[in-house]
């Protein structure tokens, strides 16, 4: 168990390509941190720098109170779970689990005990004598996690561990990882490009883009108050609608339509307006609304996603499946559910942190 401190870390590859810039991140003992971002955002590089598989070009990484910049991965007291499992194909499951312990000179009896314990925890006891080849994807993933667990490290590092599994297995393994981490209380850093995984697993999310941190926060905080248009469009499914708008006093113009904001206007002039699909609803006859031209609808069972346009800007709304659809509809949104971002930088405008982030009951995150 240990905290991990990432102090102003940067990575420049030979040839001058910069992958990661000035990352500052303090991870508490026992915390589950998820690094999330599109491919190429530097999240894996950051994880691999913490693991010691990449050299750290700038800054400092501390595990516990020890600076580990020049420490071999084996001596950093971390364990890593890889995307393709990286099991040793010629060794039995037992030997796969025991290999790291053997290399450390752990006594045989202790190896036996620890492997048995990890195997029981992961329900792979009956496969201990098999080779990885004879296991299914989910079982291999368990073995890979077992290899991390037996070491009893200060931190688990997960590098997209679930992306090779099918959708159903991914969901159940996700739950298992979470349960295991709770039970062991081991500090964990988890890299994924899947925002759903990120939302469900994380104590705190770190959204990365272009090698820099866009936002750090609890999943709901990030969901309800995205710090930039990038975070807004990346976290949440369907992605947050982002449209160009213009503030006229207390009124907001989107394309041809204009709605009143009841005093929620944070700025004036051009802005980017963000609104979650589920915050849009069919307007009552007597309220101000946006004219919506329906293009097509997607049925999800519990809700219906209607895709269309306001003026020339694409918008998706999530409505109840009973909603009647028409080619031209009027949709409305509560002014306090709107997110405002600077039109030029894409940063969230101060003062527009919506009250609902704190007030509204946590929305069930699907």
């Amino acid at each position: 168990m240990a905290s991990i401190d990432v102090e102003n870390v940067g990575k420049v590859y030979t040839g001058g390509v910069r992958a990661v810039t000035d990352i500052k991140l303090n991870i508490a003992d026992g915390e589950f941190i998820v690094l999330v971002g599109p491919s190429g955002c530097g999240k894996s590089t950051l994880l691999r720098m913490i693991a010691g598989l990449e050299t750290i070009s700038e800054g400092e990484v501390k595990i516990g109170s020890r600076t580990v910049n020049n420490v071999e991965p084996a001596d950093r007291d971390i364990a890593m779970v890889f995307q393709n499992y990286a099991l040793y194909p010629h060794m039995t499951v037992y030997n796969n689990l025991a290999y790291g312990l053997k290399n450390r000179g752990t006594p045989k009896s202790e190896i036996d005990a620890r492997v048995a314990e990890a195997a029981r925890m992961l329900e792979i006891t009956q496969y201990l004598e098999r080779k990885p080849r004879a296991l299914s994807g989910g079982q291999r993933q368990r073995v890979a996690m077992g290899r991390a667990i037996v070491r009893k490290p200060a931190a688990f590092l997960f590098d997209e561990p679930l992306s090779n599994l099918d959708a159903k297995l991914r969901v159940s393994m996700r739950g298992e990882i979470k349960r295991l981490q709770r039970r062991l209380g081991t500090t964990s850093i988890y890299v994924t490009h899947d925002q759903l995984e990120a939302m469900t697993l994380a104590d705190r999310l770190v959204v990365l883009n272009g090698g820099q941190i866009e936002q750090i926060g609890a999943p709901l905080e990030v969901y309800h108050a995205p710090a930039s248009t990038f975070v807004a469009s990346f976290i949440g499914s369907p992605a947050m609608n982002l449209v160009r708008g213009e503030m006229h006093g207390d009124r907001l113009a989107i394309g041809p339509a204009m709605i009143g904001l009841n005093g929620f206007a944070p700025t004036s002039g051009a802005v980017t307006v963000g609104v979650r699909a589920e915050d849009l609803r069919i307007a009552r006859a007597d309220e101000e609304a946006l004219p919506f031209r329906l293009e097509y609808a997607e049925e999800l069972g519990s809700q219906r996603l209607v895709h269309g346009a306001i003026g020339d800007q694409q918008i998706t709304a999530a409505v109840s499946p009973e909603t009647e659809l028409a080619p031209e509809m009027r949709i409305a949104v509560d002014a306090k559910r709107l997110h405002f971002f600077a039109a030029d930088t894409g940063k969230r405008l101060p003062g527009s942190v919506p009250a609902q982030a704190k007030l509204a009951p946590a929305e069930p995150v699907v």
């Binding site: 598989l53 971390i78 364990a79 890593m80």
Partner: protein, 282 residues
């Protein structure tokens, strides 16, 4: 392709039988010839049935050898060939697997250059560099010795290349997992790479053994003492008698004897060999 037509069945079998016969017949002839007396070929017609000189021919050849032709007993030459083939194949595998390991897993200056230099030598047959090599070996005083027979051909670009290609297919994460598990480079090599390469090693061993066994030009150049003759050279000596008739029955017996060990190696290692060429570890 699963059609059940008697005529097609017959045709395919016919083709197969003809093919096998084409391959086997010369070997059969050689064996027949080795069981006959020296005068049986003088008529110009090659007999097709075994004679009764089998024991006499082979005994003579293995025990005393054809001294008039300057060939020592075959038993000695077989031993020489065996020693040379073993040393060459084991040496080649050891050297090439280590160099491939260095090229693939270590970052050092001129790594790529080193690889390409090794790779280029693939295109140079032994014969091209045989004179300078001879000069070097002679200056080192290695003529007429086992090291002289083995060392000049012990490095193998082909094997290095094959091992490199195989190592490249081993996922990099495997190496990283081993690093996190506390295995240094040598431990990784011993515990992970060597076991994973076992089928490749088996296949290469057979190929290299046969290569070593069939060495002809090089042993002929550097051995002048019959004590170091190899069996392939011995056959040549048998066949080119200076005055008098070539004793074809003995030549053929020599051919059969020289052909046996590679055949045995293949038969006994066939399973591994085929596995190594076809199957890759998942």
């Amino acid at each position: 392709m699963v059609e059940n037509r008697p005529f097609l069945n017959f045709l395919t079998h016919l083709v197969l039988i003809v093919g096998v016969a084409l391959v086997v017949f010369p070997v059969y002839l050689a064996f027949i010839a080795s069981t006959r007396g020296p005068s049986d070929f003088l008529t110009g017609v090659v007999p097709l049935t075994p004679g009764n000189e089998f024991w006499a021919n082979y005994n003579y050849l293995l025990g005393s050898g054809e001294s008039t032709a300057g060939a020592p007993p075959f038993l000695l030459m077989l031993a020489n060939s065996l020693a040379m083939a073993f040393m060459i194949s084991i040496g080649k595998i050891a050297i090439s697997i280590v160099s491939a390991f260095a090229i693939v897993y270590f970052r050092f200056p001129f790594r790529v250059l080193a690889f390409w230099v090794i790779f280029m030598t693939l295109m140079l047959p032994v014969e091209v560099r045989i004179l300078p090599t001879y000069k070097v070996v002679a200056d080192l005083g290695m003529l007429n010795s086992y090291p002289g027979l083995v060392i000049p051909v012990i490095a193998s670009a082909t094997a290095t290349f094959l091992f490199r290609q195989f190592f490249l297919t081993v996922p990099e994460e495997m190496m990283e997992a081993a690093r996190v598990d506390g295995a240094g480079p040598l431990k990784f090599f011993r515990d992970i790479l060597l076991p994973l390469s076992s089928t490749n090693i088996a296949a290469l061993f057979i190929i290299m053994f046969i290569y070593g066994w069939n060495q002809y030009l090089w042993p002929m150049l550097i051995t002048t003492e019959p004590h170091y003759y190899t069996v392939v050279m011995g056959i040549k000596r048998l066949a080119s008698v200076l005055d008098g008739d070539t004793q074809w029955n003995l030549v053929m017996a020599g051919v059969i004897l020289a052909g046996l060990p590679p055949v045995l190696v293949i038969i006994f290692m066939q399973r591994l060999f085929v596995k190594g060429l076809v199957e890759t570890e998942k």
